[in-house]
């Protein structure tokens, strides 16, 4: 069972009904204390990621690149050896908050930078997969019976989805990433391109049932253009499960990236990601354990937060569950 698995399973799981969405959503969400904690963590993380981008690349406070070989493998909170390394090379406050790595780079700065990169991998990959999945699912669900020559649109799209599902996902990602020139964009795109099948399937199911609803039938009777019906009327109603699964998919995309890094196909320098800091750090587990544990637990906490928020969203969006809760 791989890191890529939750996508398949999550694709099955969310089955919220939208009937009574708005009024009780937030109260229910906040009542779930774990989800609330997860949301707080995510907000902090978002702040960190933005701070990471700003403070390590635009207005360099935390220097991720400077190499200080004499200061390699310094444990967290240790002071920089100011006599040996020159003053401009010294870290902020003269201390390495999370220690240094094999080349004497500041782990704190790299983790900060990595938070932005890791998050953007998650978001972009999931963005791609949601886009493809929703579009194909909506088309298949709405134009299901339209014939193109010998087959219907629905059959065409769903057979293609089935084709994609025949590949073992992680193996496919690995093949493509190994064969393509490595770049952060390729990794985002590949993860995105291989994880949309679940979304497509349940968006289709949602559209199939929405198509028969009164408000859609009424809109059609009024002569509202089909595109408009699809995107203005039906799509927003189908978005709730997409949102839930997307939240969880971000988590699994971050895990997939770390798994790829472990096998040596991860994101390249100059980008630091938590995945590649962790994968590089594992070789030094006896010499510099912080290189292994810091990114490991960071990934754990963030992925956990995404999963909990996803779960909270699911519960808050599902009135059936809510009723029974009270």
């Amino acid at each position: 069972m791989s890191a890529a698995q939750p996508q398949t399973m999550a694709g099955e799981a969310p089955e919220p009904d939208l009937a009574g969405e708005a009024p009780a959503f937030w109260p229910t969400f906040w009542k779930n204390r774990m989800a609330a904690a997860g949301a707080v963590v995510l907000v902090i993380l978002l702040g960190l990621a933005i701070a990471g981008k700003v403070l390590t690349e635009w207005w360099i406070v935390f220097d991720t690149e400077t190499i200080r070989l004499p200061d390699k493998f310094k444990p967290p909170f240790s002071e920089a050896a100011l006599g040996v390394i020159s003053a401009p090379d010294a870290p902020v406050f003269g201390r390495y908050l999370l220690g240094t790595d094999e080349l004497g780079r500041d782990v704190f700065a790299r983790m900060l930078q990595g938070s932005f990169v890791s998050l953007s991998i998650g978001f972009v990959a999931v963005g791609i997969s949601v886009l493809i999945g929703t579009a194909l699912g909506a088309l298949a669900g709405f134009y299901g019976n339209l014939r193109l020559g010998i087959i219907t649109v629905d059959t065409l799209i769903m057979r293609f989805t089935d084709t994609m599902m025949c590949f073992p996902t992680f193996f496919l990602i690995l093949t493509v990433v190994a064969l393509l020139p490595p770049s952060i964009y390729n990794i985002m795109i590949v993860i995105g391109l291989t994880s949309w099948t679940g979304t497509a399937r349940f968006v289709r199911a949602e559209f199939l049932s929405l198509r028969e609803r009164d408000f859609v039938v009424a809109a059609q009777a009024l002569g509202v253009p089909e595109i408009r019906i699809m995107f203005r009327h039906m799509l927003p109603s189908a978005m709730a499960p997409v949102l839930v699964s997307a939240t969880i998919d971000v988590a699994s995309a971050i895990l997939t990236e770390s798994a790829l890094s472990f096998l040596g196909f991860g994101v390249q320098p100059p980008y630091a990601t938590w995945g590649n800091i962790l994968a590089d750090g594992k070789d030094f587990i006896f010499d510099a354990p912080w290189l292994f544990f810091t990114p490991g637990f960071a990934i754990l906490i963030v992925v956990l937060a995404f999963n909990l928020v996803g779960e909270g969203l699911r519960e808050a969006l599902n009135p059936g569950l809510r009723e029974r809760r009270t």
Partner: protein, 320 residues
């Protein structure tokens, strides 16, 4: 009924052809050469490389290469670029190694998820439910290799026994019982590690299915009839909650190939995932393509069986 099955099989066969063509194009169009053709070997001259390329049909058009591959696969003559060994026996051998790990993992996942999932659902919002929820989310969120290393280091340091490989090295002369138990131990740790994520996900799913079913009218009716709670839960509710899991068998099978790369790599397990990974690194096209093909066949068989099972299990489904 038979018409449905036949159509189903036919559709899957067409799908298989598309899958194999897609896989073939992806592998051959990407850059990278089989490592036997590695031009960085200072002893290899361009002429030698040209000869080897010709022998592997690497310079033929893509569709011809596809046909050669299909022909050799059908006749069993397909050979690995890397060591000229026939591909199918090679995969067969690895399959035999992967199978126990896969079966045990599945057994652990299903064996542990159902009890915990059901218990959590029945005792909803109890401390057990809450801690299981949190625990399963934690387990989903740990990178698999991170957890594996922690466990390996823990076992080696505290218990002082080996966990790497399929058996302890040099046990050839030991009593058979010891050998079997040794193999079981070497199987247990990687199986537990690869089961972790499955348990976490599946038990969550079981829980939510059970909750769904427990809220249904017929369960209320059963309760109202005064049936004991256990009978209500385990006979009436569970049976209906089980239905969706039938379909999951189909998606389980490809895990045999793709799901285990990382664990096989860490635990030095000579299984299919590693075969695939090494084949990718060496650009051993016949092995990559055949593995992909087998994975597709397994998935299709899995979903086919699931469809048929569903047919029997759910009386609500009607065949046109």
């Amino acid at each position: 009924m038979w018409a449905y099955i036949l159509r189903n099989v036919w559709q899957r066969l067409i799908l298989l052809v598309f899958v194999s063509i897609l896989a073939h194009s992806v592998v051959h169009l990407a850059p990278g050469e089989p490592s036997e053709v590695d031009p960085s070997n200072p002893r290899m001259k361009p002429e030698d490389i040209a000869r080897i390329r010709a022998a592997f049909h690497l310079d033929d058009p893509l569709y011809l290469q596809y046909i050669y591959w299909l022909r050799d696969l059908a006749s069993g003559d397909l050979k690995s670029f890397k060591d000229s060994q026939p591909v199918l026996p090679k995969i067969g051998q690895r399959l035999l190694n992967s199978l126990p790990l896969f079966l045990l993992t599945t057994l652990i996942v299903w064996g542990l998820s159902f009890p915990t999932g059901i218990h959590a659902a029945v005792h909803r919002d109890s401390p057990f439910d809450r801690s299981m929820t949190f625990l399963s989310y934690t387990l989903i969120s740990i990178p698999g290799f991170f957890l594996s290393y922690l466990v390996i280091l823990g076992v080696v340091d505290t218990l002082d026994v080996p966990v790497i490989g399929m058996s302890t090295f040099g046990m050839d002369e030991a009593v058979p019982v010891f050998q079997w138990m040794d193999r079981l131990w070497h199987l247990a740790i990687p199986a537990l590690m690869s089961a972790v994520m499955g348990i976490a996900i599946l038990s969550r799913y079981v829980r939510s299915q059970m909750l769904e079913v427990i809220g249904q009218d017929y369960v209320r009716t059963a309760r109202a009839k005064g049936l004991p709670e256990d009978v209500v839960i385990y006979r009436h509710a569970l049976r209906n909650a089980l239905l969706p899991f039938v379909t999951m068998f189909g998606f389980l099978v490809p895990g045999l190939i793709g799901g285990s790369v990382i664990f096989e790599q860490i635990f030095a397990w000579p299984g299919l995932g590693r075969l695939g990974y090494e084949a990718i690194l060496a650009r051993d096209f016949p092995v990559i393509l055949t593995l992909n093909f087998i994975a597709a066949v397994l998935t299709l068989i899995g979903t086919f069986v699931a469809d048929i099972l569903y047919l029997f299990a759910d009386p609500r489904i009607q065949i046109e």
